[in-house]
């Protein structure tokens, strides 16, 4: 059994008296990919933001490799160096070239020599098909290219775990797969990840385990093949159904009625 990297214990979080997380617990082992799904407003993004301290939790504990990381205000940057995070809106630094975006963390936060990191950055850019954009400004990139850059930026910190918060939600449909293929590549390489997404087929493809979050609690948890095909809770069934559509010509039941009518 691989080591537990992340342990979230009974975490509560409220905004202005409104509970967003109501006792969430989860564990993520080394190399495991956990996908968190659920209706909007269920607390998925808040959960990720609590893990790397962008939000402070109301109660509970969060551990990274047995080190308690919740509730601290000092040296939070040291914790965040070990937890990568990529957002829906890419958030590349617009005033820096792609390469400077990539180098900033490793050279400034980790004090690594620039030449080393630059070499590594070029290798990673090549792997995600962006080597020719290394010295371009972010505004000249497409959404998909920006998001791949953001993934490389997070990975260059060599985090213990990578948090992905709906990273394809702002992309045009044809750019979604170029980004998700990079994530699948990372998963194959053994990267530990917690992924919030609305791309159900991607979730099924990449997940080792799926968490269904509803109204601030983990309502269901299971292997992707179980969760997506035989969900246990009625709420999860309804959620998954919302991703399928009735056909234009109506259901087969209606059609058979029409046939009888003829």
């Amino acid at each position: 059994m691989a080591d537990t990297i992340l342990r979230v214990e009974n975490v509560y979080k409220s905004f202005d008296g409104q509970d967003v997380l109501r006792g969430v617990s989860l564990q993520i082992r080394e190399g495991e990919v956990v996908v968190i799904v659920g209706p909007s407003g269920c607390g998925k993004s808040t959960l990720l933001r609590c893990i790397n301290g962008l939000e402070t939790i109301s109660s509970g504990n969060i551990f990274l490799r047995d080190e308690k990381i919740s509730g601290r205000t000092k040296d939070l940057h040291l914790v965040r160096q070990k937890i990568g995070m990529v957002f829906q809106s890419y958030d590349l630094f617009p005033h820096m070239k792609v390469m400077d975006n990539l180098l900033l963390g490793p050279t400034r936060a980790l004090s690594r020599p620039r030449a080393d990191v630059e070499k590594e950055a070029l290798e990673m850019l090549e792997r995600v098909g962006l080597k020719d954009k290394a010295y371009a400004l972010p505004r000249t990139l497409s959404g998909g290219q920006k998001q791949r850059t953001a993934l490389v930026r997070a990975m260059l910190m060599h985090p213990e775990i990578l948090l992905l918060d709906e990273i394809t939600a702002a992309l045009d449909p044809e750019m979604v797969s170029e980004v998700l293929n990079v994530v699948i590549d990372l998963a194959r390489g053994g990267m530990t990840m917690a992924i919030v997404t609305h791309e159900m087929r991607f979730a099924e493809a990449v997940a080792d385990r799926v968490l269904f979050l509803e109204d601030g609690v983990v309502l269901e948890e299971g292997k992707p093949e179980e969760f997506f095909h035989t969900p246990k809770t009625e709420r999860a069934q309804r959620f998954l159904q919302s991703f399928t559509y009735a056909s234009k010509r109506g259901t087969s039941e209606k059609q058979s009625k029409n046939n009888l009518g003829d």
Partner: protein, 223 residues
């Protein structure tokens, strides 16, 4: 208008312009430094100091420079603190300008997308590194027009220095006017002198703004 009168007094105006420009520049540079410090104290909510900075900003912005200079030059000596006229000029201009510069920097910092701050934090930068490499460069690009407006405003405010008996442009002109009586020529030269100093500053502001825009600084639409 008497051309020979104008020509014969060009050297007087040059020396006045030198005083205006020199002390204006000292004041501007000190204002930028003070403004930056104050706005960072407020941004990081440094205990106690950020209240002091806020109080100072309100005091400086809501009292006239003339009153501030009188306080420095005539008020403080009564309690035994005595500055030269030149020192009073620079201190006074800095006191006023620091508040305006701080507000200009603040507007720049507030314009930086919160997501940028979080992105910087997420790659493990300390708050200081995040400010230096991620937030401030973007804030500065947004604040440039306001900062330049302040520079022009402060250089114009140096005309108040004449109450300190400094021979700046305003005082040179005033002295000539009261002694020679050629009011039209004297004031014409005064206006031309201020324009010659400030038009290049305005031009520089335009150039810098354009350059920043073309460089894609502060590009907020990220899709």
């Amino acid at each position: 208008m008497d051309g020979s009168f104008i020509l014969s007094h060009v050297p007087d105006y040059l020396s006045g312009a030198w005083v205006t420009l020199r002390f204006g520049l000292y004041g501007v540079l000190c204002s930028l430094a003070l403004g930056l410090v104050c706005c960072l104290l407020c941004y990081f909510r440094v205990p106690i100091f950020h209240w002091i900075a806020k109080g100072y900003i309100e005091l400086a912005r809501n009292t006239p420079l003339l009153v501030q200079l009188f306080f420095l030059y005539a008020g403080l000596p009564r309690v035994g603190i005595r500055f030269s006229a030149e020192a009073c000029a620079v201190i006074g201009l800095t006191f006023l300008g620091g508040a305006y510069m701080s507000e200009a920097f603040r507007s720049g910092l507030e314009s930086v997308d919160r997501a940028q701050v979080e992105a910087g934090a997420c790659i493990g930068l300390t708050a200081g590194q995040n400010m230096r490499y991620v937030i401030f460069p973007q804030a500065l690009a947004t604040a440039i027009p306001a900062l330049f407006a302040n520079v022009i405003f402060l250089i114009k405010e140096t005309s108040v220095f004449s109450v300190l008996a400094m021979m700046d442009l305003m005082n040179v002109a005033d002295t000539l006017r009261t002694s020679g009586g050629r009011t039209v020529e004297v004031l014409f030269m005064l206006i031309v002198a201020y324009l010659l100093i400030l038009l290049p500053v305005s031009l520089l502001a335009t150039l810098v703004e354009r350059r920043l825009r073309y460089a894609g600084f502060g590009d907020q639409h990220s899709v």
